[in-house]
């Protein structure tokens, strides 16, 4: 490394930017060099001091307090938003719960399935079942079963049972539903009231 090269690299040397090999070469040169390179080293140090003397600025205010306050506020808003969403979800679930429990609780659900099965039977056979619904649970030449045995149970006579264990009453042709069929369930009291009382019917009472 010659004097010119050394002098070009003095600032990088002082700031530790040279690699090990270059640093060693430069130090070896400086140790054995004349006054000129050592003088350059001093000048470079002085120049760097001058550059470093560039005045800085002071913060106009302390940052910590407003930043922490704004962070706390945004965290509060976030928590409130999460809580609100949670409450809304719970409220929605509460509203949906009756619908979830609709199937086991509402006899009209079974009525709808039963009516659908009878109509399907009618499409297949071009006639309605004659006072006996047991065909609906059986498979035959023209299709079936029309009702799922997992949902509808039957007794030993093949009668289809309602949710209180009583047979559905079926009548074709219907008295209340002209040209169609009547079905009713004896209801919770399990007493056949011919469609009156708490009997559940597929016609308007």
């Amino acid at each position: 490394m010659d004097c010119k090269e050394v002098q070009d690299k003095l600032d990088a040397y002082l700031l530790g930017a040279l690699d090990k090999a270059e640093t060693t070469q430069l130090e070896v040169h400086l140790a054995g060099c004349t006054q000129q390179c050592r003088q350059s080293l001093k000048d470079t140090m002085r120049t760097l001091d001058v550059w470093r003397a560039l005045p800085g600025i002071e913060p106009r205010a302390a940052y910590a307090a407003p930043i922490l306050a704004s962070w706390k506020y945004s965290r509060k808003v976030f928590r409130l938003a999460v809580l609100t969403i949670f409450v809304l979800l719970v409220a929605l679930l509460c509203l949906m719960w009756p619908l979830w429990g609709y199937r086991p609780q509402y006899p009209m659900y079974y009525f709808a399935l039963l009516e659908k099965a009878i109509l399907q039977y009618n499409i297949q056979h071009r006639t309605f079942p004659d006072n006996d619904l047991s065909h609906l649970l059986l498979s035959g030449k023209n299709g079936g079963p029309y009702l799922s045995p997992q949902i509808f149970k039957s007794n030993g006579k093949g009668e289809i049972l309602d949710m209180w264990g009583m047979a559905y009453r079926y009548r074709y042709p219907g008295i209340h539903n002209r040209f169609m069929f009547d079905i009713y369930s004896c209801g919770k009291n399990r007493i056949d009231e011919q469609g009156a009382g708490d009997d559940i019917t597929n016609w308007k009472k």
Partner: protein, 180 residues
């Protein structure tokens, strides 16, 4: 004095004063870093606050075995670079002259003031990546390893950028050096 990483741990455990201490420790160096980088005081103040907010938001993800100093300067460098790219180019002689007129430093004489303006102009003339390396090493006193982490470059690149920056500054400030 507790290490930065120690303060981060304490803050994550719920001690707000630790964050306060971190802010007090870094507010002036960060502000000056951005100020030297962008040459705009208002922007520097705005960015410094944004950086601390970003630090607060992402502190959970900070690896306490890493260097907090390098991490915070990485955020600062990214923000400063993005901010400069979003805005009109601000580093020009006219603006620096304007900055120097409105923000007088504690100069004891005209020569010092003139020298400071010259250094600022020379810094402004450096490409952004080289300027960041130079300021981080020269004014913020980060080690080359910390700078490498902060700007996401290999150590060799950081050192070569530093050499380039020095070479360029030397050329730009030749006249003033001669005066010295």
């Amino acid at each position: 004095m507790a290490a930065d990483e120690e303060l981060v741990k304490k803050f994550l455990q719920g001690d707000e004063n630790s964050f306060r201490e971190l802010v007090e420790r870094y507010q002036k160096p960060l502000l000056n870093y951005i100020y030297r980088f962008t040459a705009r005081r208002e922007l520097a103040e705005e960015l410094a606050q944004e950086i601390f907010i970003a630090v607060l938001q992402h502190l959970q993800r900070f690896d306490t075995t890493a260097s907090f100093k390098a991490w915070i300067y990485a955020i600062a460098t990214n923000r400063a670079l993005n901010s400069l790219r979003r805005r009109e180019p601000v580093m020009n002689e006219e603006l620096i002259a304007q900055t120097m007129c409105t923000q007088k430093g504690p100069f004891s004489n005209a020569a010092e003031e003139e020298r400071a303006v010259a250094v600022r102009k020379a810094l402004a003339a450096l490409p952004e990546k080289h300027r960041a390396v130079f300021i981080l090493r020269f004014y913020q006193d980060l080690s080359y390893e910390e700078i490498a982490l902060a700007i996401g470059c290999p150590l060799g690149t950081v050192k070569s950028r530093m050499c380039y920056a020095l070479q360029k500054l030397r050329g730009l400030l030749w006249a003033h050096r001669e005066v010295e």
